[in-house]
């Protein structure tokens, strides 16, 4: 395996294998086969592709009908449209009717950084997490994406998967340890108990860099990968709250309703946990190259290093 890979490519590679085994698997796209990197899948499984045209609402409803008759549709569309324009279809035709549809939100979060707020999906975790009977995942590297797709290909439950656009460095060495099961988070760095930094998806590697920077200054933290946003690993969260002084969350999402909110909601009942949420503010996000945007909002390793050191004083 290469040292880094786009999550979308890893998803399509695994889905291509799964579609070979199960003829009921379908890829459904809304004129998004290019941005979803679906070419390798289409070369192998042209008959297992359903093109809906630029009609995201219909892509979800059609998939509800397909799933009701035994198909296993994977809907690929930009996360911004899939989880906003089509959200009622997700709520009713997928989750409420309990149709086995997998929703793959591509170019999620701030991926389309310079295209502006119309194309950002910084509210998708908040809205999908609030829908009953919908699992929510945010894979962080190619192994995790592969493990997740292996699970989703045989699972009968509706799910939303949010991925980004850029190639990501490997965090894991194999798919089995990268994605264990729904509701299981992974400790990916275990330097000590000064703090726990919880992240997922495209920001997980920033959390890892931050932990390495902090270690060089004698601050030893854990980094936790919350790949399964829903169901949530509340056992591990409680263990982290027992063991560490401070919990910090980092996410490519609005500070309202995302990963940080999920962690805070789970731990609020304890009344003894210090939590800091690092996320995008409640305002239209400045456009520009992604690393510069992340740095502007204090979501880069250097700034996080300073912030966490300060919170621990």
């Amino acid at each position: 395996m290469s040292e880094q890979m786009k999550i979308g490519d890893a998803i399509v590679a695994q889905l291509t294998k799964e579609a070979e085994k199960d003829q009921n698997i379908l890829a459904v796209t809304s004129d998004s086969r290019g941005s979803a990197s679906l070419s390798p899948y289409i070369e192998e499984h042209q008959k297992q592709l359903v093109e809906v045209g630029i009609a995201e609402q219909n892509s979800v409803t059609i998939s509800g009908g397909l799933a009701h008759s035994g198909k296993r549709p994977f809907v690929f569309a930009p996360a911004a449209f899939l989880t906003m324009r089509s959200i009622e279809q997700v709520k009713i035709d997928v989750a409420y009717s309990n149709n086995n549809v997998k929703l793959i939100g591509i170019s999620g979060g701030n991926s389309y950084s310079d295209l502006g707020a119309s194309h950002h999906s910084l509210q998708d975790l908040a809205i999908t997490r609030a829908i009953p009977n919908l699992e929510v995942y945010t894979p962080a590297d190619q192994y995790q994406a592969s493990g997740l797709i292996q699970y989703l290909a045989v699972s009968n439950r509706p799910a939303y998967v949010r991925i980004g656009k850029i190639a990501l460095p490997n965090i894991y060495q194999d798919s089995a340890s990268a994605f264990v099961k729904p509701g299981q988070a992974n400790i990916v760095i275990n330097f000590g108990t000064d703090a726990a930094l919880i992240s997922s998806g495209e920001t997980l590697h920033i959390a890892v860099e931050t932990a390495i920077l902090l270690k060089s200054q004698g601050i030893n933290i854990k980094v936790v990968d919350l790949v399964s946003i829903k169901p949530l690993d509340t056992n591990l969260l409680n263990l982290l709250a027992d063991q560490t002084e401070l919990i910090v969350t980092l996410e490519e999402h609005s500070k309202y309703g995302g990963l940080g909110s999920a962690v805070a909601e789970a731990l609020a009942v304890r009344g003894d946990t210090k939590i800091q949420i690092v996320a995008f503010p409640d305002e239209p996000i400045i456009a520009g190259p992604q690393p510069e945007v992340f740095k502007y909002y204090g979501m880069d390793a250097a700034t996080l290093n300073q912030k966490i050191a300060g919170w621990l004083k």
Partner: protein, 276 residues
């Protein structure tokens, strides 16, 4: 079933629905009475589906997109034996599964509907699955005419035509009224026949309160390669003189006096049909 038996069945279903709405104090009265004949034609003469075959993958499917007309659907399903009439008596009571819109927790109901503009897309997805599986079942969906203002209807219409879904029949309960008044005044969706034809459907216009015409039309196979639209002209509130063509009866519940009068009117129709 012959036409007279079906007409009698429709009158009996109208009476059962009228009674159920009065007892519960809630329901979409005018919408139920408008599409009663369509449901009776489907469930007693057309659909290849019974309670025993409801789990059979080759069964015909019915998706009620105008989910608010659920009381008539419940009564028809109970009469066909999908569940007991005793169970249905819990309609709208605390924690009853028989709620104000169709849910697939109820035997005989395929999908959860209620929010308008979903049924045609769901049906098109099911119809495409049949094509992929080379199975020959047919999918029927019932929409309202007010519902035609939902943009998602037209996304689904485009899809059904693009994929040549000739195993799909959409029916519009074309009564010309919606909750706020005449459909042509609220948001004019006419001319529906020309619109669906332009979207690639084979369109047939019929009297949607004439059971014999409904059965005859629904039994005609689709034109090869084309989804079909049946534009069924109906009368909202059909069968109760003072509710007919009155938008306020969309979800009006009868008073005690209106209830008695309605029961009498429907019993007269039933008596007449029995004596023929």
């Amino acid at each position: 079933m012959d036409t007279k038996t079906l007409e009698l069945k429709a009158a009996q279903m109208r009476l059962a629905t009228w009674k159920m709405i009065f007892k519960a104090g809630t329901g979409h009265t005018g919408s139920d009475l408008s599409c009663t004949d369509i449901l009776v034609a489907l469930y007693y003469s057309v659909l290849k589906q019974t309670p025993a075959t409801f789990a059979d993958p080759t069964r015909d499917r019915y998706i009620q997109s105008k989910g608010h007309a659920v009381e008539i659907l419940y009564n028809v399903l109970a009469d066909r034996g999908y569940f007991s009439k005793k169970e249905l008596a819990t309609y709208s009571q605390f924690n009853s599964p028989y709620i104000g819109h169709p849910t697939n927790h109820i035997n005989g109901i395929e999908q959860n509907t209620g929010s308008l503009g979903h049924g045609l897309g769901l049906s098109a997805g099911i119809a495409l699955a049949a094509k992929l599986d080379q199975s020959d079942y047919h999918v029927y969906t019932l929409m309202g005419d007010g519902e035609q203002a939902e943009g998602s209807v037209w996304e689904a219409a485009m899809f059904a035509s693009n994929y040549h879904l000739d195993n799909l029949t959409a029916i519009i309960d074309h009564n010309g009224l919606q909750i706020s008044g005449p459909t042509t005044k609220v948001m004019n969706s006419e001319s529906l026949a020309a619109k669906y034809e332009a979207f690639g459907f084979d369109v047939i216009e019929i009297n949607g309160n004439d059971i014999s015409e409904l059965v005859k039309t629904l039994k005609i196979p689709n034109v090869a390669g084309k989804p079909r639209l049946i534009l069924a002209d109906t009368i909202k509130g059909y069968g109760i003189s003072f509710a007919e063509n009155k938008p306020e009866w969309h979800h009006k519940v009868p008073t005690d006096e209106q209830y008695q009068q309605g029961v009498q009117e429907l019993q007269t129709i039933i008596g007449g049909l029995k004596n023929e």
